[in-house]
């Protein structure tokens, strides 16, 4: 830290003497152009790398989706992808993601509100750090810890059964869409909390005081100030959660061994070699379909985000 300050204070005097533009400089300065020898090599490798390992694969999926086994143009893959079992899997995936995101959004906002309103610093620190950790803990281990909890022989299942209510006798199953909806909450709720804490804390104290001094009731405050302000960031967050749930593969695969008809699972089993004759590029059409769904979500997100940023600055 001391070294840093030294370098900083030292450098300030140097740049001050050099007659450089003031601190607001948002554009490249002419004086910089001197060291041209390394210009260009700086950013190019990154762009090339991302193109090669992300865009090339993605584009090849979309391109292959329009080809048949002999490399000729066809729409047959898409035709197959939007009918029968594959259509069902798109519907199931979208339903699952929508429901999971909706529940997580509601619970997450309530939690974020509760945390923001708490005086206790330790509780706040704990929830923020915990959310950061849990939001990143998806995947396989999560599936197994839920199997241990509410699986067929899970600890909570047994407890409930011994208390006279066996959830599996009442139609519940962890290895179903309902089960996945519950498991997904484990990483979606923390995500929602993390996204919503900044906009909630940005609800300006002046606005709250103003509404109070104007005699607004608690209900009126939320009806006319709180909810309208928090709606755009909530919508944006909902879309993020939806996308996250839609693309999730590991948890569903580990939990259901690929038996549940969701798009990522279907695509996974096509990749793993369960390809029937005449379906060579069907997987690519499913992949292209997934990209379309996420793209639509991303466009909606960008639109909502623009609205959201209007007030909360």
């Amino acid at each position: 830290m001391a070294v840093k300050d030294e370098i900083r204070s030292g450098s300030e005097s140097v740049s001050g003497g050099g007659g450089e533009a003031p601190a607001d400089a948002g554009r490249p300065r002419r004086a910089r152009r001197r060291g041209r020898w390394h210009t260009g090599i700086g950013a190019l490798p990154f762009l090339v790398y991302v193109s090669l390992f992300l865009l090339v694969p993605a584009i090849s999926v979309v391109a292959t989706a329009f080809k048949n086994g002999n490399g000729q143009f066809t729409m047959a893959n898409f035709d197959e992808a939007v009918h029968g079992v594959y259509l069902q899997s798109f519907i199931a995936s979208i339903k699952l993601s929508f429901a999971s995101a909706l529940i997580a959004a509601v619970v997450g906002v309530l939690t974020a509100l509760a945390v923001s309103a708490t005086d206790n610093r330790i509780v706040r620190a704990l929830v923020t750090a915990g959310s950061g950790v849990f939001a990143n803990t998806g995947g396989v281990p999560l599936a197994f810890s839920f199997i241990a909890t509410v699986g067929n022989f899970g600890v909570v299942t047994k407890l409930l059964a011994s208390a006279g209510f066996d959830p599996y006798a009442h139609g519940f199953s962890l290895y179903s869409v309902l089960g996945l909806t519950i498991v997904y909450q484990y990483f979606l709720i923390p995500l929602m909390i993390l996204i919503m804490i900044p906009p909630i804390q940005a609800l300006r104290k002046e606005w709250i005081d103003a509404s109070a001094s104007l005699g607004a009731s608690r209900f009126q405050f939320w009806r006319w100030v709180g909810i309208p302000l928090l709606t755009p960031p909530m919508l944006a967050a909902f879309i993020v959660l939806f996308t996250d749930a839609f693309a999730a593969y590991a948890t569903a695969e580990a939990l259901t061994s690929g038996t549940i008809p969701l798009v990522p699972i279907q695509l996974g089993s096509l990749i793993s070699g369960n390809v029937l004759a005449g379906q060579t590029n069907l997987g690519d059409a499913l992949g292209a379909g997934m990209i379309v769904v996420v793209m639509v979500a991303a466009l909606l997100y960008a639109y909502v985000q623009r609205k959201a940023s209007k007030w909360l600055r």
């Binding site: 490798p45 990154f46 810890s145 993020v240």
Partner: protein, 290 residues
């Protein structure tokens, strides 16, 4: 995806700080926090109990001892660690020059580069895997047929976490001044990086590395679909046969992911107190928010 601008929270300032300005009653707050907390803690406790439970409701460590005696446990863990270390190294080599270059030379394109780093969120990793198979099938076997391809892909897939963390760290220091000062003293770029820039970015580098490494240790989709038995893939294989071992393994995996992640979060909350415009923390907030 998430352009959750990290500075939003700080802009409004005093929002929820200190007093209950949000007009939410204690009963509401505690009910919500306790219920949500229970949802997150119960599976962990249940897993612990499940993994220690023997045949006759007796407690035993056998799930753990059997696991540690399995050679595959160690070999798959080692593979994941190797892939993780490779990914982190490659990520740093790619990110350090890029982010610094963008900040010094192309500050106007900063948002653009950030959006590029978020692209992996728009393309599900299952789709990327399919694309890797169709487009790289004909590459030399040393790349496509070995876990090298995993590291190469993980660099990209972890970018939403690594790039933003490092980018905000760079944003939070006065890079231009450092560069000016160094250059006017006659330092070349290597010296500048080694002695002036990177030492100031230690926590940013650490945060990006930890997030990337944690990503690699947990990644399942790409590894399993490309038929590499990494640690999470092994975990699923165990789960098909031996539930209590799989739960024990999951618990270990979760705890070992939580420790480094919690470390990042603690670093971030300390810096919040220390400085208003802190880089890493807001980045983590943002990265995680993605």
């Amino acid at each position: 995806m998430a352009t959750v601008t990290p500075d939003l929270g700080r802009a409004g300032g005093s929002g929820g700080e200190g007093s209950n300005v949000l007009r939410l009653g204690k009963p509401f707050r505690y009910t919500v926090l306790i219920l949500v907390g229970a949802f997150f803690i119960i599976p962990i406790l249940a897993s612990a109990r499940f993994s220690f439970l023997g045949n006759n409701n007796s407690y035993t460590l056998s799930a753990y001892t059997q696991l540690f005696g399995t050679p595959q446990f160690w070999s798959t863990l080692w593979l994941s660690v190797k892939v993780g270390v490779g990914t982190v190294a490659l990520t740093l080599v790619l990110l350090i020059p890029t982010v610094i270059f963008v900040h010094v030379r192309l500050p106007r394109l900063r948002r653009l580069f950030e959006s590029v780093s978020l692209l992996p969120l728009v393309i599900p990793s299952v789709v990327v895997t399919l694309g890797v198979i169709t487009s790289f099938r004909n590459l030399p076997n040393i790349i496509y047929g070995t876990p090298v391809i995993l590291a190469l892909e993980y660099v990209v897939l972890a970018l939403p976490y690594s790039y933003r963390t490092f980018d905000s760290a760079v944003q939070s220091i006065d890079l231009k001044t450092l560069v000016d000062a160094g250059q006017s003293l006659g330092a070349g770029w290597i010296k500048l990086l080694r002695f002036a820039i990177l030492p100031n970015l230690r926590s940013g580098l650490l945060g990006a590395s930890i997030l990337t490494f944690a990503f690699c240790l947990g990644e399942f989709a790409v590894a399993s679909l490309l038929s590499f038995t990494t640690f999470p893939v092994f975990l699923v294989q165990v789960g098909r046969l031996e539930a209590s071992q799989a739960v024990a393994l999951s618990l270990i995996a979760l705890i070992f992911t939580w420790i480094p992640l919690a470390l990042v979060m603690i670093v971030f909350s300390q810096r919040r107190g220390a400085r208003r415009v802190a880089g890493v923390e807001s980045a983590i907030e943002a990265a995680v928010a993605d």
